[in-house]
C-alpha cells in the first residue's frame, strides 16, 4: 500500500513538474542553446537542469517574490554555465559551433549573413554577457528579474548588457551597411 501511495505521489509530482516546464520549455530551450552553443551539450545541460528542478520543486517557494519562471531560468543558467566550464573551449571554437546551420533557411541572403554575424558576435561575448542579453533582449525580462536569475546586482546587469549590446549592434550595423 505504501508503495502504491508513493507511486501515485511520484506520478502526481511528475505531472505537476512536466506541466510547469512544458509551458516554458521553448523559451528555456532557446536560452540554453544560445548560451551554450553546442547543440548536444545544450540539450544535456537542459536535461540536467530540469532534473535538478524536478528534485528541488518540493522546496520551491513563492516567498520573496520568487516566480517559477525566474527560478527555472536560474537553474538552467547555472547548469549551462557548469557545462560551459566543462567544455573549456576557447571563444574561437565556440564561435564556430554557434554558426547557424542555415541549410534549410531560404531567407534573403542579407538575413543569412546577419544571422551568422550575430551568432559570431554572441559567441564572442563572455557567458555572463551573453546570458544578460539573452535574458533582457531575448526573453524580455526586466533588469530586476535578470539580476535575480544571474545572481548579480542590477547594476552589473546593466554594465554587462552595455558591452554585449555594443558588440551586437556593431554586427547588425555592419550588415546594414552591406
Amino acid at each position: 500500500m505504501r508503495t502504491e501511495t508513493r507511486s501515485r505521489q511520484s506520478e502526481d509530482a511528475w505531472t505537476t513538474f512536466e506541466s510547469l516546464v512544458r509551458s516554458r520549455h521553448d523559451d528555456l530551450r532557446r536560452f540554453a542553446h544560445r548560451l551554450v552553443g553546442d547543440p548536444d551539450r545544450a540539450e544535456d545541460a537542459l536535461q540536467d537542469a530540469y532534473l535538478k528542478a524536478y528534485r528541488a520543486l518540493p522546496r520551491f517557494s513563492h516567498a520573496n517574490g520568487g516566480s517559477e519562471t525566474g527560478w527555472l531560468f536560474q537553474i538552467v543558467y547555472r547548469t549551462c554555465v557548469d557545462h560551459l566550464r566543462r567544455l573549456r573551449r576557447d571563444r574561437r571554437s565556440l564561435a564556430r559551433e554557434l554558426e547557424d546551420p542555415v541549410g534549410d533557411a531560404k531567407g534573403p541572403e542579407n538575413v543569412v549573413i546577419a544571422r551568422a554575424s550575430v551568432s559570431a558576435a554572441l559567441a564572442g561575448l563572455s557567458a555572463e554577457g551573453r546570458a544578460a542579453v539573452l535574458l533582457v533582449d531575448g526573453q524580455g525580462f526586466d533588469y530586476e528579474t535578470a539580476a535575480t536569475i544571474l545572481g548579480i546586482p542590477r547594476g552589473t546587469v546593466a554594465s554587462r548588457l552595455s558591452v554585449a549590446r555594443s558588440a551586437l549592434r556593431q554586427e547588425l550595423g555592419d550588415n546594414n551597411d552591406r
Partner: protein
C-alpha cells in the same frame, strides 16, 4: 533610467531569428526515465531504497546495532517481517549530535544503506529512504556520510582491501563539477573498500568545497563509528 532599461527591439529580433536545432522526440521520455531512476548520490548503481526503520533508541551498543534496523528519529515505520529477519550489514554506532538511518534495496534486500549526518535529515528523505535532499541542503558545517555494502560486485577492481576504521584518506576527494554533485557547494570524499569480506562504498559529503581540518576530523570520527560485520 538609461537607454538599456528597455529591451532593444533590434537585438531582440536578431536573436529571435537565430536557429534552434530540432529537439529529440525522446527528450521528455528520457528526462522522466532519469528522474525515476533517482540515483542517490552515485550514478550507475540503479538501486532504489525502501526505508526500513526502527527507533534510534533501539540502537544502544554495538552488538545491538548489528541486530537492529536503525531509524531516523521521527517518521518511523516498522520494518516488514521479511526485512527484519535479514542480518544487518552496516551500521553506525550512535553518537551525540549525529542522526543515523538505515534502508534496504527492495529489489535486493542484501544491499543495505546507512547514513549519518550532523544535521537533521530532510523530510523527503525520511520518506524515500534516500539522503539526496539532505545532501542538497547541506550547510557550511554540514556533514553527511552515506555507505552501502554488497556481498559481491561484478568488478572488484577499485575496491581496496582495507580495515576499519575507514578514514577520509582512504578515499578520493571531489570538490567541483563531479558527477551527480548535489549542489555547487557540496564536496565529497568517495571510498571504495573491501572490508571484512564485504564490498563497501562510502561517500562523505561536506556542505563546503573546502572542508576544514575540524570538519574532516569530525567526519573521520563518524567514519570510525561505521561498523562492518564480516561477510
Amino acid at each position: 533610467m538609461n537607454e538599456s532599461e528597455h529591451r532593444d527591439d533590434r537585438i531582440a529580433q536578431a536573436l529571435a531569428e537565430l536557429h534552434v536545432p530540432a529537439e529529440s522526440a525522446e527528450f521528455f521520455t528520457e528526462l522522466r526515465a532519469r528522474a525515476e531512476r533517482r540515483p542517490p548520490l552515485r550514478a550507475g548503481r540503479g538501486l532504489r531504497v525502501l526505508a526500513a526503520r526502527r527507533p534510534l533508541a533501539s540502537i544502544l551498543v554495538t552488538a545491538v546495532v548489528f541486530a537492529a534496523i536503525g531509524g531516523v528519529a521521527g517518521g518511523i515505520a516498522a520494518p516488514r517481517a521479511k526485512e527484519a529477519s535479514l542480518p544487518p550489514v552496516l551500521a553506525f554506532a550512535p553518537a551525540s549530535g549525529w542522526n543515523t538511518a538505515q534502508s534496504r534495496d527492495p529489489s535486493n534486500p542484501q544491499v543495505e544503506f546507512v547514513w549519518a549526518a550532523n544535521v537533521p535529515f530532510a523530510g523527503d528523505d525520511s520518506v524515500t529512504g534516500e539522503p539526496l535532499h539532505t545532501a542538497t541542503a547541506l550547510g557550511p558545517t554540514g556533514i553527511l556520510v552515506y555507505a552501502s555494502s554488497l556481498p559481491t560486485v561484478p568488478d572488484a577492481t577499485g575496491y581496496r582491501d582495507l580495515r576499519t576504521p575507514l578514514t577520509l584518506s582512504d578515499g578520493d576527494f571531489f570538490s567541483d563539477q563531479y558527477e551527480n554533485q548535489p549542489a555547487p557547494n557540496v564536496s565529497k570524499y568517495m571510498i571504495n573498500a573491501h572490508v571484512n569480506g564485504r564490498y563497501v562504498f562510502v561517500e562523505v559529503l561536506f556542505g563546503t568545497p573546502s572542508p576544514s581540518a575540524e570538519l574532516r576530523q569530525a567526519a573521520d570520527e563518524e567514519l570510525a563509528r561505521l561498523l562492518v560485520p564480516g561477510a
